[in-house]
Symmetry: C2
Amino acid sequence: MQTPKKIAVVGSGLVGSLLAIYLKRLGHTVHVYDRSPDMRTVEFSGRSINLVMSNRGWKAMQDVGLEEEIRKIGIPVDKRGIHLQDGSFVTQFYGKEGEAIFSLSRGVLNRKMIDLAEEAGVDFFFNRKIWDISLATATLFEGESEQGQWSELKYDIVFGADGAFSRIRHRMQRQAMFDYSQEFMSLGYKELHIPANEDGTHKIDKNSLHIWPRGNFMLMGLSNLDGSFTCTLFMPFEGENSFEQLKDEKALVDFFATYFPDTKEVIPDLVNDFFKNPTSYLAIMKCYPWTYEDKVALIGDSAHAIVPFYGHGMNAGFEDITILNELISNYGDDWKTIFSEYQKSRKPNADAIAELSRRNFIEMSTKTADEKFLLQKKIEKWFSDKHPDKWMPLYSRVTFSLQPYSEALAIGDFQNKIMEEVMQIENIASKWNSEEVEKIILQKLTTSIGLLD
Amino acid sequence: MQTPKKIAVVGSGLVGSLLAIYLKRLGHTVHVYDRSPDMRTVEFSGRSINLVMSNRGWKAMQDVGLEEEIRKIGIPVDKRGIHLQDGSFVTQFYGKEGEAIFSLSRGVLNRKMIDLAEEAGVDFFFNRKIWDISLATATLFEGESEQGQWSELKYDIVFGADGAFSRIRHRMQRQAMFDYSQEFMSLGYKELHIPANEDGTHKIDKNSLHIWPRGNFMLMGLSNLDGSFTCTLFMPFEGENSFEQLKDEKALVDFFATYFPDTKEVIPDLVNDFFKNPTSYLAIMKCYPWTYEDKVALIGDSAHAIVPFYGHGMNAGFEDITILNELISNYGDDWKTIFSEYQKSRKPNADAIAELSRRNFIEMSTKTADEKFLLQKKIEKWFSDKHPDKWMPLYSRVTFSLQPYSEALAIGDFQNKIMEEVMQIENIASKWNSEEVEKIILQKLTTSIGLLD
C-alpha cells in the first residue's frame, strides 16, 4: 500500500478520469480539474471521431473492474467494410473469429468514466482553468483568464492529462533539456452523421468500420448504440479534392455524388452537417522527458498526441495508466523511480504508435482500394491461421495483443519485407494459398528467425 | 521606394540590430525592443562562443556599407590549428590563399552594430520586456512581469529577432498549423579564457581556429583583438568525460593535464573560469511558417536556432536579411508576398545549415584527429586547386560562397560519396596526388555530372 498523497489530475478526459479512478483506489486524495463545463451537463458533438477500444484499453478497464460496464455501451466491430468507388462493397476481417474492436461514442464513454470516478470518490472541479504550474512544488495556478489574478493550488503530485495542447507540458517546454515537437498534418477532418432508421436500427452494417477509400482523402463511419453512425471525412485543406474546394453547396453535393454516391441515402443532412461542423486539425506532438522529479508527470495526449488512423490514441493513453500502475506496485512510495521508469518505458512505445498511426492513413485511404494489397492481407491471414505461433499480422499485434508498440512496429516491418517478396512470386494471385507459397514464407522466416519474438 | 511603415524589431542582438539598419535606410520608422539592459553599459561575458563572419555575413554588411567598419574589429582566421593529444600541432587551411573567416567577439560586434543602428536613426528601447503579441494586429504586449499589467504597442509590422527562446514565435506556436520543434543536445559548453601576453600579443597563433579534438569532447579557441582568446569546452553533461565528472578542482586539473596538457601554460585561470562560468545548453529549434500574413516575421535564431559547430548562426541570420532585402526590392509594398517568398526561400536553407552544423561536431571533435580524414581533405584540396571549376569543397561552398545552404549540402553529400570511394583505392596514401587518382575523380564526376551545378 502507498502512503496517501494529495494528487491533482489536470484534465477530465478519458485518460484523466480513468487515472483518477486508479489513484483513488490506491488510497490517494484525487482532485480532477477541467477548464470546460462538466460534459455531462452539455451537448458534446460536432468535432469528434468515434473511439475504438482494443485490447490495451480493455486491459486497463479490466484491472480496475470496469470492463463489463463499458462493454454495455460499445458495439463490436470485427472488420473493415470497404466501399469502393465502383459501388462494390468488400470486407476485411481484423483478426481471428471472435476478435473485434469496440466502437464507442466519445461523449458517452467520457461521461460514463466521470460517473464511475465520482462513484469511486474522486472530486471533480469543472470550469476551473489551470494556466501554469510550478514544477518543483507541484503547485497549480488557476484563474479566470491567462492575464488575470491567479490562485495557487498546492499538491504532492500533479498529472498533466490535459491533452494535445497541455498547459502542464507548456511549462515543461520552457525548461532546458526538454525536447518537444508539434507537427500539423496537411489533412483536416469533419464530422458527418448517418442517423438511425425510424425503428432505431442501423442503416448500414453496424459491425463494420466503414471506409470509403479515395486516395488522398477518405470517409469513414463508426456505429453508435442509438442506431446512428459518426462519420468522419478526412481530406487535405488545400489542393485537389480538398476542403478549400468544397466552399458551397453545389460543390459539396457534386463532390459527394461523384466520390461517395452510396452515401446519398444515408447522410440526409450532408449540407447542413458539413457547413455547420468545424473542420478540425490533426497534429502529432512528441516530447521528452514526460516527468519532473517525483512531482509532475504527463500522461496520454499531453505526452504523445497522435493521428487517429490506427484508433489508438485512447488505447495508448490507457496503456500509460496500466504501466504506471504496474510500476506503482513495484516501487511503492518511490515516486521518483516510478516516474523515471514510466517515461523510459513508455517513450519508445509512444513514438512507435505515432509512426504506425501516421502510416495507417495511407493504408486506409489508398491501399484498402488496391487489389494487390487485399491479396497480401489475405495471404497473411491464411498463413497466420495455419501457423499462429509463427505469424501474427501487424494489425493484430497492435490491436489484439499487449506486445509493446515498438516491438510490434519492428516485427511488422520485418514481416512486410517478407510479404513484399512473396507478392513478387509469379502468378501469386492464382497460387496464393499453395504449399509452395507456404514453404517460401516458412523458409524466409527461418533464415531470419532471430528477429522474431 | 517603399511606403514608410512603423516597424518594431523585438531583440537587439546581431540580427535585430542589422535588420533595423536595413529597414531604417528604406525609410521606415524602426523601434528595437530588448528585455535586457543596453549591452553597451554592462559587462558581456562568461557564456559566449566567439563568432566567425564568413561570406554570407560579409555580403549583408557590404550591401549596407558596413564591411570596412566591422573588418577593423575582427581577426582573419585562415585555418584550423589542431592540437593532437600526442602534443603535435597540425594545420588545415580552410580555403584557397587569401580566403579566411573572421573571428569577432560577440560583445564587441553587437555593441558596434547598435552604435551603427543608432547613427542610422533607429530608436532602441532597452529593459522593455515584450511578453506577447497579437499577430493579426501587430500589437506588442509589454510589461514588467509576465503576470503583471501589460501595455499595448501598436505597429504596422513586427519582426521577431528575439532569439532561440523567442516570445513572438511562442505566440505563433499556439496557432493551428504551426510546426515547431526544439531539441537539446546531450552536449553542453563552457567558456574559458586565454589572456594576452603582457605586451598585448597573442599566446598562440591568432590566425588559427584552435581545436583540441578528443572524440566525444573538444576544446576550441578563437582570438580576440586584445590579444586574448575566447575558448569553449564542449562536452557531454553526463557519462564518460563529462561535465558531471568535473565536479571539483582536482578532477578538473587532472582532466586537463591528461587531455589538454599544452593548455596549462595558456589558461592560467582554469579553475576559477571553470567553476565561475555557467555550463550552457545547446539546442536546435525549427519551425514553420515563419511569418503571419503581412504583419509578423521571425528572423535569425527565433526562426532557426542551430548548434555552433559550423560557425554559421550569425551568418545564416544575416543571410535572412539579405534575402528579405532582395524581396523588398522586388515586391515593393507587397509585404504579404515579401513574407511569403521569404519563408519559402529561407526554410530549406535553414534546415540545411542546421544539419550541416550538427554534423560538423563530429568532424571537429573526432575526424580532425584522424589521419585518413586529413588525407581526404588534402586530396580534395589538391583536386580542387587543379580543377576549381569542377570541385569546390563543402566547407568552401558553405563558408566562402553564397550558394544556398541546401544546394551546398546536397552537392557535399555527392562529393563525399566520391571521396569515400577514392579513399578505398589501394595505397591511396602514397599516390594521393597522382594522375591516376585525378583521372578516377574526373571519371566519377563525369558519370554523374547531372548532379553538379
